[in-house]
């Protein structure tokens, strides 16, 4: 059996196809919250850190897939720096208008980059895991699982830990526990760059019951290029804001949300969306901004605590 190629991902790229091509996906963002790196030249720390780690070969990958169109322009530039350092890099574009035919052509290009589809059965296995993921997400909203433990599983749906068996085991190791649901919070935007954020929120009596981006990681699936294109074309982060907001409204209502925490990353275009989110989503909203990774800073904790007090008063 040949050694599997390790493929870096910068955001959501259908892992179904990467596994089907007998490659092992690795979401480069997973190393950022625990990183102590201070990148030399940065706007957003998320992209700057993976760029520097890859360019200096501190992360060992065979190639990189950069989600550029429809998501993050910083990634487009930092991805090119990685490419110039000599790592084979492919640029993947989502359609802004959700055109499945366009996405289908992008998926064919992706498979060309990876090789050929050799294990089509992997897509079905991933679909089953994502069904379990949705159940876990629902259990968290019912107060049966801790927010932080569920988040750590959900965020891993982008690369399924590079190995379906290892990932299945990680899911099975989740233990049910009763969580008192006093303040049901939706976390929207990109995930916080702090590795302990969900646990800190819980310690301040804020229970995260919706993680916007990680939920996208497990929401989409498909058995082949045709069906994958028709599902992933609704990846909300790549679509116009009104599409994403309509989706959010439905999910927040379903989860009986008390308030929203909007995390924005320094120098990220999502910061510009804050006023729109505030005007369209009719819930108390706290906006926080992070820059470099690490523990949740005290200033952010103050905001979370004050937000909890605000929800108590509501």
């Amino acid at each position: 059996m040949p050694v599997q190629k390790k493929i870096g991902l910068t955001a959501l790229v259908p892992p179904e196809l990467i596994f089907a091509c007998r490659c092992s996906p690795f979401d480069v963002n997973n190393v950022i919250p625990g990183s102590k790196k201070y990148p030399r030249n940065k706007l957003c720390a998320w992209t700057a850190i993976w760029q520097e780690m890859l360019s200096k070969r501190e992360l060992k990958l065979d190639s990189l897939i950069v989600v550029a169109g429809g998501d993050c322009h910083n990634a487009l530039v930092d991805g090119q720096k990685v490419e110039m350092s000599g790592i084979p890099t492919h640029f993947f574009f989502y359609p802004f208008d959700g055109d499945p035919l366009y996405l289908e052509s992008q998926l064919y290009n992706l498979v060309d980059f990876l090789g050929t589809i050799e294990s089509p059965e992997k897509s079905g296995q991933i679909k089953e895991l994502k069904k379990i993921g949705k159940k876990i997400d629902a259990k968290r909203a019912q107060g049966k699982l801790s927010s932080g433990n569920v988040f750590r599983i959900m965020i891993s749906f982008s690369d399924l830990m590079g190995d379906l068996d290892v990932f299945r085991e990680a899911i099975n190791s989740l233990k049910e526990q009763k969580v008192e649901m006093n303040n049901r919070v939706a976390l929207i935007g990109v995930p916080p760059i702090y590795h302990d954020f969900h646990d800190v929120a819980q310690s301040l009596d804020l229970q995260v019951v919706f993680d916007e981006l990680p939920f996208e990681f497990l929401r989409h699936s498909g058995n082949d290029i045709h069906t994958i294109a028709r599902d992933y074309c609704n990846y909300t982060f790549a679509r116009p804001l009104d599409f994403r907001i309509r989706f959010l409204q439905k999910e927040l209502e379903k989860r009986h949300i008390d308030g929203i925490v909007h995390y924005t990353q320094f120098a990220c275009h999502h910061m510009l969306e804050d006023e729109i989110m505030r005007s369209k989503l009719d819930y108390p909203m706290l906006t926080i901004q992070g820059d470099l990774p690490g523990k949740t800073p005290e200033q952010i904790k103050l905001r979370l605590e004050a937000f909890r007090e605000a929800l108590d008063r509501a």
Binding site: P284, M285, L286, T287, Q289, Q299, L302, R303, E305, A306, E309, A310, R313, A314
Partner: protein, 228 residues
């Protein structure tokens, strides 16, 4: 029972005796002087150091500000708290708040920086402003670059009084971006004793701004009112 606000630069104690507000203010590092002989079970704390001082209950300065200001202005819509290290804007009606702490240009620390440059006391900034005949434009949103711009205005012939007035306008413009429309806007925090900054903000917002008699003690009072 007392409300104790230990912030980044000052500590304040408030109690209510026979319906009358009694208070004491000292430097942050002397906070212990305020609670000599007072049991922790009789203290409601707030401010940056709220969890580091003896207390039976604590509340964030954001919530404390709401309760404290309501004591003076029951119909308050928006509170602006210009502190030493950050500026907080609390939309009381919408139960929402914004804090600016990424940059010192909209905080009391910036005013202190400017006063140090002119070798004057912080409390003198207001009287310097009142003597200005012209107001130069200072556009920089960075505190350090704003100082460079102020020096350029001095070189160009503006007086220190005028440059200080221009700086107050730059300061007020910066925090005005954080402030939503309001019928009753209340300013708190030690910085609001600076009349120059206050008038610049009123001019930019075109709104009358209310200030409690003792704006520095509002949070300590609010901590007390939150629980009682």
């Amino acid at each position: 029972m007392i409300g104790l606000d230990v912030g980044s630069t000052t500590a304040k104690k408030v109690s209510i005796e026979d319906g009358e507000i009694k208070y004491q203010i000292t430097g942050t590092h002397n906070w212990k002087d305020l609670i000599t002989g007072i049991d922790g079970n009789d203290i409601i704390s707030t401010g940056y150091f709220r969890n580091s001082v003896p207390h039976c209950a604590s509340v964030t300065e954001i919530t404390a500000a709401i309760y404290g200001v309501r004591y003076y202005f029951p119909d308050v819509d928006v509170i602006v708290d210009i502190g030493g290290q950050d500026t907080k804007v609390i939309d009381v009606k919408k139960n929402n708040f914004i804090i600016n702490d990424k940059c010192s240009a909209g905080t009391g620390a910036f005013l202190e920086f400017v006063a140090n440059y002119f070798k004057i006391e912080l409390k003198e900034l207001g009287s310097f402003h009142s003597r200005a005949k012209r107001i130069p434009a200072i556009n920089n949103t960075c505190a350090v670059f704003a100082l460079s711009e102020m020096i350029s205005q001095l070189v160009a012939g503006f007086t220190p009084e005028e440059v200080i007035a221009g700086m107050h306008y730059a300061f007020a413009r910066r925090i005005s971006f954080m402030i939503p429309g309001a019928r009753t806007l209340v300013l708190i925090g030690g910085t609001v004793k600076n009349k120059g900054m206050l008038s610049a903000l009123e001019d930019i917002l075109q709104t009358e701004i209310q200030v409690p008699d003792e704006p520095q003690i509002v949070n300590a009072l609010g901590a007390l009112k939150y629980y009682y």
